[in-house]
Symmetry: C2
Subunit: 406 residues, 2 copies
């Protein structure tokens, strides 16, 4: 397997997918805030949506439209989430979809809307509809970077990943962009990801693959089932590579194609954590030695979401007591605390109920001085493991979220 991999600036085009963006002035005027994806007929699309009970209007409409049709266009806006907007919100989403369908000469059901931004304010339909002709006049295969800018909210930078991969019976390409930076828990601010490939996929297999990939990546920077009102991960497969469609009944080909998809999702997910609101650290919390993966993930999430642990990360303070206290309150049964150990990278900070005799705090502090490091927890009672990625909690988190609407 050979991989040619690229980051945001210079993403590979996916033949059959055209991308455009424009400035609609939804919330600000300096940068693009509307993006459109044009999907060549025959493209297979699968989407994982938020599990939040309050779905935003565009989520409700996109889900409905997906039932009977393969989408021809995706319409994305930032600056306004069109969430908590009631029946008017649904009408607004429909109006933008209708405008794009008319301009793009397709059925309304063939357009999927996506919105991100402030909740509870009316979507400025006219501003969006006014720029749709502008966007459509400027669609091209290399429009990914502009779209990556257009979908941002509190993100400080664009997030993209792209690779050409030799494998299966041909070379194929995967390109994706994402937005999201709402941390403490990424689930509470919208995460959007748009990923395309020229591989051919059988529809049901693609849907299965997207679920698996999201669960192993975007959901590992989050808490199970905890998502915002607007989250979505879209995967588009044009099928332009002339080989047989990937099907989960052929396990080897499926696994290979799934891994490519997972790489894209993983790279984008970690970029979201790195760009966490106010984040200065990317921390991998790995729990090993559990009886099953669920308990490992539960412990990892409890540690990864502890504000006390996260402020200690920010302070670069090897205050392992906070990590141990978080492990101790994680909702798992019958933990034998004498068997639990904790390391920062390879520096053991806790075992057998206390810090090891040879523990030197300076060694732990130097691990935490790095931009990225790992907290490794061993529960000492099994062979399962799980990893959750998190960031620190800084002054800037409070600043960004206290000032977001002002």
């Amino acid at each position: 397997v050979s991989i040619d991999q690229r980051a945001t600036k210079n993403l590979f085009a996916i033949p059959g997918i055209k991308v455009g963006a424009a400035k609609a002035g939804i919330r600000q005027t300096e940068r693009e805030d509307v993006a459109v994806f044009d999907l060549t007929p025959g493209t297979r699309t699968a989407v994982v949506f938020t599990r939040n009970a309050f779905c935003a209007a565009p989520v409700i409409l996109a889900k409905t439209n997906l039932i009977n049709r393969q989408p021809r266009y995706l319409l994305v806006n930032s600056g306004n989430a069109n969430a908590g907007t009631g029946p008017n919100g649904l009408s607004a989403a429909r109006a933008t979809v209708a405008a794009l369908a008319a301009a793009g000469d397709c059925e309304e059901e063939e357009v999927l809307p996506f919105s991100t931004g402030v909740i509870g304010q009316a979507l400025p339909v006219d501003r969006i509809n006014n720029v749709i002709p502008v966007v459509l006049a400027n669609m091209h295969q290399n429009g990914w970077s502009a779209a990556a800018r257009a979908i941002l909210t509190t993100d400080t930078r664009t997030k993209g990943w792209s690779a050409r991969i030799d494998g299966l019976e041909a070379s194929f390409t995967v390109t994706g962009i994402a937005k999201g930076s709402g941390m403490i828990r990424p689930n509470m601010a919208t995460m959007l990801a748009f990923i395309a490939t020229d591989l051919p996929w059988e529809q049901a297999s693609l849907e299965r693959a997207v679920k698996l990939a999201v669960d192993r990546t975007f959901n590992c920077i989050s808490v199970d089932g905890d998502t915002s009102t607007n989250d979505a991960c879209v995967v588009m497969a044009t099928g332009r590579v002339p080989i047989a469609p990937v099907n989960h009944q052929d396990r080897r080909r499926f696994d290979f194609a799934l891994e490519a998809l997972e790489r894209a999702c993983s790279a984008l997910a970690l970029d979201i954590v790195r760009d966490g609101e106010g984040a200065t650290k990317l921390v991998a919390v790995t729990v090993e030695g559990g009886t099953d993966a669920i308990e490992c993930r539960t412990v990892a999430e409890t540690v990864a979401n502890s504000p006390l642990v996260k402020t200690a990360f920010f302070a670069q303070d090897p205050n392992w007591g906070r990590i141990v206290a978080a492990i101790g309150r994680a909702p798992v049964r019958d933990l034998d605390v004498e068997k639990v150990s904790v390391s920062l990278n390879d520096v053991r900070v806790f075992s057998e109920g206390g810090s090891p005799p040879d523990y030197r705090e300076s060694a732990a502090a130097s691990v935490m001085a790095a931009d990225e490091f790992a907290v490794r927890i061993d529960l000492g009672r099994g062979s399962a493991s799980a990893t959750v990625y998190t960031c620190d909690l800084s002054y800037d988190y409070v600043r960004i979220n206290a000032e977001y609407r002002s």
Copy 2:
């Protein structure tokens, strides 16, 4: 029922309980950091301890000592939690208990130790033991205020509550002090409370009452089962009021005495929230219209612990979208979002999927400008309710917790 109620400065003495404090210099030298309670023989004591799997050494020892004996002394220190200290920590706790038992002329099993402060550092046994004679030489019934200072860590002020209550067959007194200010979730920093009354209580009934009172108060500023390594709430009943012991088989007397206890716990618990690290707001999150109290509490806790909601409180920003998004991701089943409504005090900010037609943001903003206000959520599907108290998330939370050890 007549109540004469007092706050921290001027607490009523409880005859039979003597209190003393001294400066041991455990972590700092400016103020008291060791407190001792002397319980007259015949006092009934009940304690609710942390449910954290990692119990601190003093918790382990106190639980053991409580099994067979009624305590004669409580020994409390701040500045060091003696948690995550392994077998050495248990020995250290035993050494301080032995010193007090020797000086106070009782059995070691009649002393309960309590510690709060930094986790994972060796308890400075000598410093504590050195001041024990000093403390014992200065015990008196009016020592509560000094003890209230001695038990503090990151708290910015002492917390006390006291009342003389006419009821049952006589007048009785309840006096309590507490420490704790670790918020986002109070469960993550140690909460200690010491409450005494001169009512006579039957032992098993007292234990039942303390559990009920804690569950309705201290556990409502926290998440079920989520406690620090050192949390404890101690209730001491001297029985000096010459009436028959309160027994849960006499429901009317039990309920009356329980309510008095609950008032003390509630006042102390709300003081802990008001003094939450960096807190500028006390917010009551009340969920009504649920199918049962558990789902109401689950929703209330999800909202109350949301960092995005808490930063909006700090910003005094009626960003109800964050509240709605938190409700939507609460782990409750089959929520019908169309029936959910949200108010800030009496200002309805959300109903039927959006903000009401007559909603004015200025009205909601003026509610949030107050130091204390309520978020009222109606799930629209039942008659159960629950309230959780929380505070806002400010710059100072990050400062306090990033700098705590440095």
